[in-house]
Amino acid sequence: MHWAVILPLLFFLIIIFGIGIWANRQVVQSNSFLQEYFLGGREMGGFILAMTMMATYGSASSFIGGPGVAYNTGLGWVLLAMAQLPAGYFVLMVLGKKFAIVARRIEAITLIDFLKKRYDSHTIVILSAFSIIIFLFASMMAQWVGGARLIESLTGLSYTTALLIFAASVLIYVVIGGFRAVALTDAMQGTIMIIGTVILLIATIIAGGGVDHIMQDLVADNPNLISPFGADQSLTPLYVSTFWILIGLGVIGLPQIAVRAMSYKDSKSLHRAILIGTIGIGTIMFGMHLIGVFARSVMPGIEIGDKVMPLLTLEVLPPVIAGVVLAAPMAAIMSTVNALLILVSSTVVKDIYLNYINPKATDKQIKSRSFWVTTIIGVAVVILAVNPPELLIMLNLFAFGGLESAFLWSVVFGLYWKKANKYGAISSMIVGIGLYIYIYEFQTNIFGMHSVTIPIFASLLTFVVVSLVTQKMKKIEDYHF
């Protein structure tokens, strides 16, 4: 065991716990439990909003998987990763003020609350709740597997022990602290992610003898490593461009991101968050993927991509600083899991329990249900992550695109198009998810584009056509929107 590396990580966990306990006091004192527990009382300032967007978005793949692929592919993969820059400003600019105003007006706490009021349809509520629970459950599990593997390789503990330590620490602060704990720990985790990226990038450049020298090494290895087309020339402009839809623009359709656009305090916070968030996402995505490419010159011959980042960190940094930097991927994983956990929990409690099972629940009942639901979901994910089932791994792989295909247009048109109605929304959700699953399974990279491209366009078309055709079927009450 490298104690010098582990101590900073432990210190990091202790601070995170402290934040959870502090947030729990706000939950106990609050007079609107639902607003406080699931939205943190809509009190996020600019810095926290930026960090929680970024930390929720940046996950195991930004710090572990991504740099590993960049190691094998070269600068072309950094180019692809930079398609994520809009995730920092586009979501907040497009949903931004309108979503926040409408959400306050109709007292929406979840994305489904908004869709329910806007489209007035039980089918949408159930369809949405179902896709959120299934897809995000699978994503959570995958993040946990990643976190456990990371701790396993750093400490030498067994996979199961590592998983339990990791899961217990996340569960406790999320269950007791709710959204406020999630957002505040995200702020700290996001900061660590940025600082860790910058330190490691500088150390890697120094270890590689400067950028010029590293580039010479790469060219000597394979000149295509420094081209935009990737080491084996497989990254076509069309394929790389379609990533803009998946990881840049479609992010609006991710419920865990959209819900943050209704939880901030005021306009000023939004403006500040847009700027800080873009700088943060730009730094992390550029830095981590470039580190992956540079690692090829500093430490050639690593066979397993996922090990590039941890091995490089231990190689180029002194142990204590390596601990700080390795807290970054841990922070990324924890901050993604905690956001998904509180979102799935709010879906179960608010959208299913309060809508269909017990609409007259007292505050005390809601409170205890929320704590229990969060705990049970968390524990269930851990149990599944001990031995991940094939089906959930598959679902996780298309969770991102599946959720975007389902929600992107319902949210965007719901906000900005008066003629959007429930028939359009339902059919576009079904077409989006159905087509995505089909293409993903049978026709990956159809016409050389990422699998999400066609479902997104097909659900757009379906939405518009069906809404227009069914205009006369039901007058929509649009005065809230």
Binding site: M93, G210, D212, L249, H480
Partner: protein, 90 residues
């Protein structure tokens, strides 16, 4: 109150359109420099600060340029409006 006439929505709609415009600009810079300068033979690339020219303009200078544009958009076009109903009546 007549919600349809909410003046805040007009501002929100304009700001959302600015977002769309910025993304289009972002994509154009990113794509143009990457494939415009990077399509040739890697052996003949020119370098800036050690990075291939296409990479420097598309991923480094382009990103910094976008951050400046976003900062300007916040300063010049984005308005400070109340989000709550009570705040608005005050």
């Amino acid at each position: 109150m007549n919600y349809m006439q909410d003046k805040r929505f007009k501002i929100a709609h304009k700001e959302a359109l600015i977002g769309v415009g910025l993304v289009i600009l972002n994509f154009a810079i990113w794509y143009g420099f990457a494939y415009g300068l990077g399509s040739g033979n890697p052996a003949e690339y020119r370098y800036i600060l050690g990075f291939p020219e296409w990479f420097f303009y598309s991923c480094i200078a382009g990103t910094i340029f976008m951050v400046i544009c976003i900062w300007l958009a916040m300063k010049l076009f984005f308005k400070d409006i109340p989000l709550d109903e009570e705040e608005e009546k005050r």
